[in-house]
Structure formats: structure tokens, C-alpha cells
């Protein structure tokens, strides 16, 4: 795996109560489909990002299951309504387990 950290952009880390916060996140990952054959004629093993979850503290905000159609270096953009402050925790998972976690504090009404 690459050591590049995920790229994160948050529209507002100190949103007003109820404000819709937009998150953009992108991670480096080969997203090998398992369909490809290498130069030596060997199949290249499937290596896909399997899941992405965003939590606010312990509450699940959203979950994403990428499949083979998702591009290399997967990009995800999502929104949530900021109802309370908390730690926004994003976790990426592939065959080898959790590969990246990013946490950002969201402070509502700040």
C-alpha cells in the first residue's frame, strides 16, 4: 500500500446547527479488478477497496461499498447534516483490513 495519506476536504469544520457539511475524500489504492493478466500471462489478483464508513463519534453517518467499477484511487463525496459536535471518523477497508483512518473534529455552532 502506498503511504500517501487520504486527501480530505471538509466544507466547514465549524458548521451552524443543521448546516449540511460536504466531505470529499480520496485515497490511493490500485483497485485491481481481478480481470487483468500481467505480462507473464498470470492473472493479477483482485485487490479492491471493500468499504468506507463515516462515523460521528459512534453513530454511523454513511457507508459505501465500492465494486470493480470504482476507479483507481477511489474518490467519495458525501454530505451530512451537522446536528451536534463530535469526531468525524472515516475508515477505509480492503482485503488486508483497515488501511486508513482519518479523524476530524466537527464543532457545531462554534
Amino acid at each position: 500500500m502506498s503511504t500517501t495519506p487520504p486527501r480530505i476536504w471538509i466544507s466547514n469544520e465549524t458548521p451552524a446547527q443543521g448546516e449540511v457539511v460536504r466531505i470529499r475524500a480520496q485515497i490511493v489504492h490500485p483497485m485491481e479488478t481481478g480481470f487483468r493478466i500481467d505480462a507473464a500471462g498470470q492473472p493479477m489478483p483482485e485487490n479492491l477497496l471493500q468499504g468506507f464508513q463515516a462515523h460521528l463519534d459512534d453513530d454511523l453517518l454513511m457507508e459505501w461499498q465500492p465494486e470493480t467499477a470504482i476507479s483507481q484511487n477511489p474518490y467519495i463525496e458525501f454530505t451530512f447534516a451537522a446536528r451536534r459536535s463530535g469526531a468525524l471518523r472515516m475508515v477505509w477497508t480492503d482485503q488486508s483490513g483497515d488501511i486508513a483512518t482519518v479523524t476530524r473534529e466537527i464543532t457545531v455552532g462554534g
Partner: protein
């Protein structure tokens, strides 16, 4: 000078075989005879002459000296300093200073052991293996054409050289290292308000993402200085590309009142005197403009008679070279590297015309020539590409695009493009790491 260059290349239909016209039109200074020899040969060593000391040329020079420690490597370059186009948009708003972009060309020549000559390349005689320059003639065993691009104003103005000259000086595109960069910077800084029109060249052109970057940094400057400016991007493409989503987000979120992107705006006619431009997406009046005409291979590729033709026999405007080994199809003692290169794959056309690719191909071709001179089999290599583009000034944020290449089972090169649309400060930092690595590679 301008007149001669324009004449040389203004009629693409007669482009092939222009070396002849070049020779006739050559007005040599009195002290030079047409056979003045610029540099003596160094014994039996292979002589490799590199035309153009930009990103591709200087990289090739360094790596040729490493491949072939005895080789006589000569770089011919018209400019007195190396001026980096990468980062030059950021320089418009003083994110970097002039010293960051301008580099001494003699120091790397001494460090790596090649020769640089400041001169204008005026003709190439492939039958005699001679390059003619404003300082005299240089003969070669291998020739590398690394001249970058030319601005094809003739595509807009035909034979009207006056309109081309007026446009070049009044609405400089600053896409080629030249006096235009500073002229543009002063224009950007002195602008007090109104409508600025920016035309994008049709693909393929030099550095496809950077016109949008330029629009962003200019918009940032006007926004932070409360200058009532509108920037209209006239794009011949149906949408912003590459990094379209990242740019669109920047336009809409950071500069909604300043930047307007107009798709499918192929230029039909330019009236620089009345500040008006007619496109397929409508007509636009402007107070100020950055007018980028279509791009073509540098003049020297025309001089060498190595411009390709398309299926209908029309000149492509780009070099006709082997897509994997980069030597001219008609003459394998001549290589073409960097932005002048023609198409390499039926799948995606040209390699991106970027400094990253020019540097990479410069290295690859140095390796190829090294292998040939040593009598080894030539082992094919493919490049990759990486570009960072600044979209926000505070905080400083960038987006980026990466390209990787593979040989397909169809024996053609395949490209994978990955846009990094999330604008972040770390991409900005990575850009500085990238350029520092590049400058270390061939300038320091």
C-alpha cells in the same frame, strides 16, 4: 525575425520540406559565412546535438553524459536563462518569486560536462547532418529536437501577420518561455476591473490543466484585492478536463462571481483591435485577454521536415516519430522529445504535453541513444505523468492528475488517468517536492 518565423510555418500545407525555405530566408550576420563551424569535434566521440534547452533537452543532456561519458553533448538554446513554465502561474500572484523560476544554464552544463550555446536554430539539414544556427553550423551523429511548441497564430489570422503580432504583444499567452511571462504578470497586476477573456487552445496542447489554474490564481488575486473582474474561459472542449470536478468545484465554490466557464467555445474569429472574439458558443467582448492560439510542434520540427500527416494527407502540426522509440520515422538519427512529439497511441493520442513527460522522455531517449552507441539492444520504456494545479490562495490548495501507461495486448500504449479532485494543502506541498526533485534532476 518574427516575420521570417511566421512565414516559415504559416501555411501548414507547405510545411513539409520547409528546410529549403529556411535556408533561403536565412539572413546571416555579415561575419558568418554559411559554412562557419560553431564547435570543433572532440576526437572520435559520438556527438549528440540537442535543439532546445528546456525541460526535455536539458534532461537528455545530463543523462546522455551519464550514459556515454565520452560523448560530445551540445545544447542549442535561444534563451539566456532557463525559465520554468511549471509554477509560473503561481508566480503571477507571487506564491514563488522570479529566482524560483529562473535558472543558470551554465552551471549544470559544467557539472554534467555538456556544452550549451546560446543561439537561434535556423535550419536543419538532415541530409548533411547539420544544424544551422545564428552562431554557425553544428554537425551531429544524433540529433534531439526538444523545441517545445509554437503558437500557431496562423490558424486564426492566416497570412495577416500584423494581426498575429498585435495579438501576441497585446494579449500574450505566456505559454512559451519568453518576454511574454513578465508582460502577462504586469497585465494581471495592473488590471483594475472589467472582463477578461481567456481562450484555451484545442487539444492537443501544452499542459491542458494549466489554463484553468491560471484562471484560478488570477481570480484569487482579484477576489482578495476587491478588483471587480470577470474571467470568461472560452474552452473548445465540451467540459473542463482534466481534473474537471476539482476545477468545477473551485470555480463554483471559490470564484462564483468571477469565473465563467464556457464549453464548446471553439474560436471562429479573433478581432484583437476591437477586443472581440467570435466562437461557436457566441461572441464575446473583452477589456483584457489572455489569447492562447492553437499549439503546434516547435518550428524546428517543420525546419527538419518531420511533421506528420493525417489519414487525409494533411499535416498534423506535430512530429512524426516512432511512438515507442521516439526517433523520427523518416530518420532514426533524429529523436523528438517533449511537447513537439506527435501521437503515440490510437487510444489516447498524445502523451500529455507536460514538463514531467518531457523530463521522462528525455531520460528514456538518453538511454536509447546510449544503448545504440554501445551496440546494445534498445529496451523500450514508458513514461508516466503527474501534475499539480493550484486552485486556492488562502489556504493554498491544489488538485492534481496522474497518468500511468502500459503496453496493451494490442501492442499499443494504454493510458490510465486519475484525477485527484479533492483540493488540499498537502497537494500544494507535494507540488513543491515535485519541482524541487525536477530541478535537482537536471538544473542543479
Amino acid at each position: 525575425m518574427l516575420r521570417r518565423r511566421t512565414l516559415l510555418t504559416s501555411a501548414p500545407a507547405i510545411a513539409i520540406g520547409m528546410g529549403l525555405i529556411g535556408r533561403n530566408a536565412l539572413a546571416a550576420p555579415a561575419a558568418l559565412t554559411s559554412e562557419t563551424v560553431l564547435l570543433p569535434r572532440k576526437g572520435n566521440a559520438a556527438r549528440i546535438v540537442i535543439c532546445g534547452g528546456g525541460w526535455g533537452g536539458l534532461t537528455a543532456a545530463r543523462y546522455l553524459r551519464e550514459e556515454l561519458p565520452d560523448a560530445d553533448v551540445i545544447v542549442l538554446e535561444r534563451n539566456p536563462i532557463f525559465w520554468s513554465c511549471p509554477m509560473s502561474n503561481k508566480w503571477l500572484i507571487d506564491v514563488v518569486d522570479t529566482g524560483f523560476l529562473a535558472h543558470d544554464m551554465i552551471a549544470p552544463a559544467q557539472k554534467y560536462g555538456y556544452t550549451t550555446v546560446q543561439c537561434e536554430i535556423t535550419a536543419i539539414e538532415r541530409d548533411r547532418k547539420i544544424v544551422r544556427t545564428s552562431q554557425g553550423n553544428v554537425d551531429y551523429d544524433f540529433l534531439i529536437l526538444a523545441g517545445g511548441i509554437r503558437n500557431a497564430y496562423d490558424a486564426w489570422f492566416g497570412e495577416d501577420l500584423e494581426a498575429a503580432e498585435y495579438t501576441r504583444t497585446h494579449f500574450p499567452s505566456a505559454y512559451i518561455p519568453s518576454a511574454e511571462s513578465l508582460a502577462l504578470k504586469n497585465k494581471v497586476r495592473n488590471f483594475t476591473g472589467g472582463t477578461i477573456v481567456m481562450t484555451l487552445p484545442p487539444p492537443p496542447h501544452r499542459c491542458p490543466p494549466s489554463p484553468y489554474e491560471r484562471a484560478c490564481v488570477m481570480a484569487w488575486h482579484y477576489k482578495t484585492n476587491n478588483i471587480p473582474a470577470k474571467i470568461i474561459i472560452l474552452d473548445p472542449k465540451p467540459q473542463v478536463a482534466p481534473i474537471g470536478a476539482g476545477y468545477r468545484a473551485a470555480f463554483e465554490e471559490l470564484y462564483p462571481d468571477i469565473i465563467t466557464h464556457v464549453p464548446n467555445a471553439k474560436v471562429k474569429e479573433v478581432d484583437p483591435y476591437n477586443k472581440r472574439i467570435m466562437t461557436e458558443a457566441g461572441d464575446f467582448d473583452f477589456d483584457e485577454a489572455v489569447l492562447m492560439p492553437p499549439h503546434q510542434a516547435s518550428d524546428m520540427v517543420f525546419h527538419a521536415g518531420l511533421i506528420g500527416t493525417d489519414a487525409e494527407g494533411k499535416p498534423t502540426g506535430w512530429a512524426d516519430m516512432d511512438p515507442l522509440f521516439f526517433h523520427a520515422r523518416q530518420d532514426d538519427s533524429v529523436y523528438v522529445i517533449g511537447d513537439s512529439m506527435g501521437a503515440v497511441s490510437p487510444h489516447f493520442g498524445h502523451y500529455p504535453k507536460s514538463a514531467h513527460v518531457a523530463n521522462y522522455i528525455g531520460k528514456i531517449v538518453a538511454g536509447y541513444i546510449g544503448q545504440r552507441v554501445r551496440g546494445e539492444e534498445v529496451a523500450m520504456r514508458l513514461p508516466d505523468n503527474l501534475c499539480y494545479m493550484m486552485v486556492n490562495g488562502d489556504p493554498q490548495e491544489a488538485i492534481s492528475v496522474e497518468f500511468t501507461y502500459e503496453m496493451g495486448a494490442d501492442n499499443q500504449v494504454h493510458q490510465t488517468q486519475i484525477d485527484i479532485d479533492v483540493r488540499t494543502p498537502d497537494l500544494m506541498k507535494e507540488d513543491f517536492v515535485w519541482i524541487d526533485g525536477m530541478f535537482n534532476d537536471f538544473l542543479r
